[in-house]
């Protein structure tokens, strides 16, 4: 009996240790949460035409991803929702400098309860609870904070801001109706929202343009499969997918 228990525990340990086989064509993606649908579609298409290639996708706040990569998380391709976090990795010699390119652009909007009287940045101060991505690691939150500063309403909003871990969580809060509204990208509100509606588009003069730079990481540059997929991201095909999902490609 005792022996049987020991044997089965040993067998279990062996199974658990071997349950994640690493196959040759593994591509690790670390991508801003707002690009989830786009990268899912592109990677699915790629996997279909390239049997044997597997993707591991990590979506999240760009700052959090940059920190994970810095601390050794496996990543071949990094796409950030602002230039700051890619520059951060570049400065730490984690990004392959030659490969840096711009993937796409986006626009910041305020999405919330339909019928809410908010048509401009100034109206937001009248609301009770507003979700933004944590500006410490989520670019959408940094852009929103920029806009508050420009509009001179940072102080009034101080205790109304619910900090989300990425832009999708931010949208989820608004979608559930737990906050009055959330600052998210136009594409998030269009693709992932069920109840929340876009109430206004934040005028461009309030914040720097939302730019998504991408790069191969230093490890990714050595991975032939990752480099091949990286070329797909720069292709016309990728642009078509981006456009389909509402992103701005120029």
């Amino acid at each position: 009996m005792k022996q049987a228990v020991v044997m089965s525990l040993a067998a279990l340990t062996v199974i658990l240790c071997c349950s994640s086989p690493l196959f040759a064509g593994e591509i690790n993606l670390a991508v801003a949460a707002s690009l989830k649908e786009v990268l899912n579609e592109l990677s699915d298409n790629y996997a279909k035409t390239h049997p044997g290639v597997g993707f591991r996708k990590n979506y999240g706040g760009s700052g959090a991803l940059a920190k994970q990569i810095e601390n050794g998380a496996p990543a071949d391709i990094f796409i950030s929702a602002n230039t700051e976090w890619l520059d951060y990795l570049k400065a730490r010699k984690q990004a392959d400098e030659k490969s840096i390119a711009t993937f796409t652009y986006n626009v910041l909007v305020f999405a919330g309860k339909p019928g809410l009287k908010a048509t401009g940045v100034q109206d937001v101060v009248k609301l009770d609870r507003i979700a933004i991505g944590s500006p410490k690691s989520v670019p959408a939150g940094e852009y929103a904070m920029e806009a508050f500063k420009k509009a001179g309403i940072s102080k009034q909003l101080e205790k109304k801001l619910v900090m989300a871990k990425d832009v999708r969580e931010c949208l989820m809060y608004a979608d559930r109706g737990e906050v009055d509204g959330a600052f998210v990208y136009k594409t998030d509100a269009q693709q992932a929202a069920r109840n929340a509606k876009i109430l206004f588009v934040v005028p461009q003069e309030y914040y720097p343009r939302v730019t998504y730079p991408m790069a191969l990481t230093v490890n990714g540059a050595k991975n032939a499969e990752a480099a091949a997929f990286y070329n797909v991201l720069k292709s016309v095909e990728a642009q078509a997918v981006l456009k389909k999902h509402g992103f701005i490609v120029k």
Binding site: W85, R129, S137, K159, V162, M163, G177, E178, V179
Partner: protein, 228 residues
């Protein structure tokens, strides 16, 4: 050590406040539950036992999510009871208190029960034969004799409350200065590339508070033994 801003000081004070309020609020309920489970025999006792102890093994995230679904804008209690009364719980510090109370409750009940089970049954029966009603017996015999368990349980629950993260982040959100407790602040800094110094500084604060609570717990138990 980096300079704390007002957001960090608020986080520290808020953690203490949430944990203290949750513990004090739970005390009467915890004591009643422990009393019922120790001294009463009734049908469905097993079910009560299960419900009280469930938060101990459930992932706190599950508790938070259930609370959100029930108390939120579209939840049963949230929509039918809280909204008509004009009460908003989700994303306020009160939601953090509720989450902390639910998560820490089993620890409190367990300690009080252990305290009650060590009471000499003869003393309880003697008080009843001398004419005390059950309420008198509870207040003058059971409560004083199980005080050690009550205090030990409160300290444990308080300490657990300081560490509450999973349920709190879901129901109370992460609002600096309003619902951001120490663990939530650490979480935010930990995912920020520039946040390591602050995260570590807050960890130090956490360790200091925990050590103080444990020392207090130890000191009380020793004093109790001497009184015994």
């Amino acid at each position: 050590m980096p300079e704390f801003t007002s957001a960090e000081y608020t986080a520290i004070l808020l953690s203490l406040k949430v944990s203290i309020v949750a513990t004090l609020l739970s005390l009467p309920f915890g004591f009643s539950a422990a009393y019922v489970m120790t001294y009463r025999k009734f049908r469905g006792k097993f079910v009560l036992d299960l419900i009280v102890n469930l938060p101990l093994t459930l992932p706190p995230v599950v508790i938070g999510y259930i609370l959100l679904v029930v108390l939120g804008q579209n939840g049963v209690i949230g929509k039918q009871i809280l909204q008509p009364l004009g009460i908003k719980l989700i994303f306020t510090w009160k939601a953090a208190v509720i989450a902390t109370a639910v998560v820490g409750f089993p620890l409190l009940v367990r300690s009080i029960r252990i305290g009650m089970e060590t009471i000499d049954q003869g003393l309880v029966q003697a008080s009843r034969t001398l004419g005390a009603g059950w309420f008198d017996t509870v207040m003058t015999v059971i409560l004083p004799l199980s005080l050690r368990g009550v205090i030990a349980g409160s300290a444990l629950m308080f300490a657990r409350g300081l560490g509450e993260f999973g349920a709190t982040i879901i129901v109370a959100g992460n609002i600096p200065g309003v619902t951001q407790t120490i663990p939530l602040a650490i979480y935010e800094y930990a995912s920020s590339p520039d946040g390591d110094r602050m995260a570590l500084a807050l960890c130090v604060v956490s360790v200091v508070i925990s050590v103080v609570v444990l020392l207090f717990h130890e000191y009380l138990s020793r004093r109790m033994i001497r009184v015994d």
